[in-house]
């Protein structure tokens, strides 16, 4: 299949371009090419639209195997494609936990057959994510994991965290850390503060996150080995990461759209769609997250796409599951709240969702350079649209952003030259 995308404003942060330029992008045999060998099978007129590398999500939950009633690899990647993603890295908290090579093979093979996006499995740090013994990191690396994480749970002891970093480094692998001091967080259901007092809900203080961020930065500094901090939600963490980076500690960090789009107040009325872990924080934390993205302290934006069945959300607040779906709102929330507001340049924003997550996952992806896999996003950055959860392709509908007006809509997604999402034809 030969595709020509013409008249679009092309921006590829991996190629150091500052501003979008109008130029064609040619695709042949699944790769970006300088020119087509024959007439295009399809010509996409992207006049008025933008052309970017396909988005890369370093943190999602595809729920497959074990929780296919929430999501599976087919539905999850279809949802990702509709959101402009061409690569997604899925966390290992499946059933059973992805802590061995067989599970990695299962995920990769199913994704190869059914995936509308590239699926990069993340392996568990510890067997069963129990925080006791190291999982078979080497064998999983051989089978194709791109990083390790016990996401959903912290690696509670400093000792195991250090060992994970030391061991994984020889397999060219970064540890992604879910930072949560359970002695402070256990039993909590939302941010600890005025709103938890008002709602009579047990709180999770921001120090439950930042204390572990500080610990991991210290271990990374001590060992000289990289650590990636997942889902940063608060000012205290941003400050620690900024200080560590200034000292040259090899730490990278991600945040998620909900941490710059929503505050703890969204929990009012016991709205379980605002329940997540780490919890939504204060307006001051939102400001700190945006500052962190703008100055590069926070490297990337990941979705933490966390599908849950309605029966797991339509409950007493304390009993409801944590998390929201994110693939189909991430780009719009980011463009609307970060770029349109002038807080980040378009290039910074696109880099934070393409080439930078690729680098953290150590993949040569996220570029429109000639020869690269033809992972392409064509987006409309002008016409506002209302988020409509009924149109989403995820099996789950747990989003607090239904009905919200956003700008920044993926209209065409190509994964290895295949059209995985198309609103243009």
């Amino acid at each position: 299949m030969r595709i020509a995308i013409i008249n679009g404003r092309v921006l590829d942060p991996a190629q150091a371009a500052e501003e979008p330029v109008v130029r064609p992008v040619f695709i042949e045999d699944g790769r970006i090419v300088a020119a087509l060998g024959a007439d295009a099978d399809r010509t996409v007129d992207a006049n008025g639209l933008y052309v970017f590398p396909g988005l890369i999500d370093a943190h999602c939950h595809l729920r497959d195997p074990g929780y296919e009633y929430k999501e599976d690899i087919a539905s999850g990647t279809a949802s990702a494609a509709r959101g402009g993603f061409t690569t997604v890295a899925c966390m290992p908290n499946t059933l059973p936990v992805c802590d061995n090579a067989a599970l990695v093979h299962y995920i990769r093979e199913k994704a190869a057959r059914q995936g509308k996006a590239r699926v990069l499995p993340i392996g568990a740090v510890s067997k069963g994510q129990k925080g006791q013994e190291l999982a078979e990191i080497g064998l999983m690396a051989e089978a194709g994991i791109v990083a390790i994480s016990d996401d959903g749970h912290p690696v509670e002891t400093s000792d195991l965290m250090r060992k994970a970093m030391l061991y994984a480094s020889q397999f060219n692998m970064t540890v992604i850390s879910h930072c949560e001091d359970m002695s402070l967080a256990a039993g909590g259901h939302m941010n600890e503060g005025v709103w938890s007092t008002r709602l009579g809900l047990r709180g999770i203080p921001d120090i439950a996150e930042s204390i572990m961020v500080g610990r991991d930065c210290q271990i990374a500094g001590y060992t000289g080995l990289p650590v990636h901090i997942a889902h940063v939600s608060c000012r205290a963490s941003v400050r620690l990461i900024r200080e560590a980076k200034a000292r040259g500690v090899p730490v990278s960090a991600e945040t998620c759209p909900h941490y710059f789009a929503s505050t703890e107040q969204a929990c009012d009325g016991y709205n379980t769609l605002a329940k997540m872990n780490p919890p939504l924080r204060t307006p001051d934390d939102v400001e700190a997250i945006i500052e962190g993205l703008a100055d590069g302290t926070i490297d990337i934006i990941a979705t933490d796409h966390a599908p849950h069945h309605n029966d797991e959300k339509d409950l007493e607040f304390a009993l409801a599951s944590n998390g929201i779906i994110g693939f189909e709102t991430a780009f719009g929330l980011g463009f609307t709240l970060l770029v349109k507001t002038g807080r980040m340049s378009l290039k910074q924003f696109i880099a934070a969702m393409t080439v930078k997550p690729a680098a953290i996952l150590r993949q040569k992806l996220g570029s429109l350079a000639v020869g690269a896999p033809a992972d392409v996003l064509v987006a409309d950055l002008e016409r506002p649209f209302a988020v409509d959860k009924r149109q989403m392709l995820s099996k789950s509908r747990n989003t607090p952003y239904d009905g919200m007006t956003l700008v920044g809509r993926p209209v065409l997604t190509l994964y290895e030259g295949r059209i995985t999402h198309d609103e243009l034809c």
Partner: protein, 308 residues
């Protein structure tokens, strides 16, 4: 005037005028309780269900008697808080009860927000009889009724609340209610039993019980749950009693005509010594009686809103 909402989920949703309406209506109801024939027709033909997922003696009985005095058909459902694990969700249980023609559904639940979850799913009016650490609105209303009966105007009243504020839905509902009525609220508790942000919400947080009680018109003790000790929230009962009990020396700091309140059940000798509990300043028994009157008023007002 009528209540603006179908349900009574919390004091936070009530206006000062609505609180006044409830208290005024309860004045009338109190006459019924003291009459020789305790029977009115206010709830004739109405059905009242109490759905309690937590133990309760006084609150449940108070609602039941209030319903019976007004001629309602009433029934109780005692549910284990673990029934979620047994297969039926709270929403399903509430809908089932609703389908039997229930007018008033009175619910107590260990999770904050549980009555809010069902209120929008049922036709019945939901009355929150205590949800987790969130609210216990009828307790606060009976406390206000008692304060008003003894002290007159609530505006400007100095009210000290002492004890486990963190876990107390009584403290929260009283705080919201008193602030709405223009009273001043001073809180004292061990630092581990104070939730954050109380000062920003309009209360004064005092470093010692003496600071809270000094010149108070009303001194309210809260129940301390002994299992909090195991969670290291305070070191021992005797240490708690030494620094946080409402004893004679502390009460001397309050106004001479101050009243002593407690929502019950009381740990005698810990929250307050028995002579204080039974003393001249105590209105604790009166609170119990007023509880029936206030609950009658609330049930009447919610059903008359339904009739309208």
């Amino acid at each position: 005037m009528m209540l603006s909402q179908k349900d009574l989920l919390g004091i936070q949703m009530l206006s000062a005028d609505e609180i006044r309406l409830i208290l005024d209506t309860a004045e009338t109801m109190k006459h019924v309780i003291s009459a020789s024939s305790k029977k009115t027709a206010h709830l004739q033909g109405k059905s009242v269900i109490t759905l309690f997922y937590e133990n309760s003696t006084r609150t449940r009985l108070s609602f039941e008697l209030a319903a019976k005095y007004m001629g309602a058909a009433s029934a109780n459902v005692s549910a284990s808080s673990s029934s979620v694990n047994k297969g039926e969700s709270l929403i399903d249980t509430a809908r089932t009860i609703d389908q039997m023609g229930t007018d008033l559904l009175i619910m107590r639940h260990p999770q904050s927000g549980a009555p809010h979850l069902i209120a929008s799913r049922v036709k019945a009016s939901v009355i929150n009889a205590g949800d987790g650490m969130n609210e216990h609105p009828t307790q606060a209303l009976l406390d206000l009724f008692t304060m008003r009966a003894r002290k007159g105007d609530l505006a400007g009243l100095q009210v000290a609340i002492v004890g486990d504020i963190m876990h107390s839905r009584v403290a929260r509902s009283n705080l919201w209610a008193l602030l709405k009525m223009g009273a001043h609220v001073r809180l004292a508790a061990p630092g581990t039993l104070l939730p954050p942000g109380l000062d920003r919400l309009g209360a004064s947080v005092c470093p010692t019980v003496a600071d809270a009680v000094r010149n108070a018109d009303v001194v309210m003790g809260l129940r301390i749950q002994l299992e909090r000790m195991q969670k290291a929230l305070f070191p021992s009962v005797s240490e708690y009693a030494r620094f946080y009990a409402l004893d004679e020396n502390i009460l001397r700091l309050a106004r001479k005509d101050a009243i002593v309140m407690h929502p019950g059940p009381c740990n005698h000798g810990i929250e307050m010594p028995t002579p204080i509990y039974d003393g001249d300043q105590s209105v604790i028994q009166e609170q119990v009686t007023n509880g029936v009157a206030v609950r009658m008023a609330i049930m009447f007002l919610l059903t008359s809103r339904r009739n309208a």
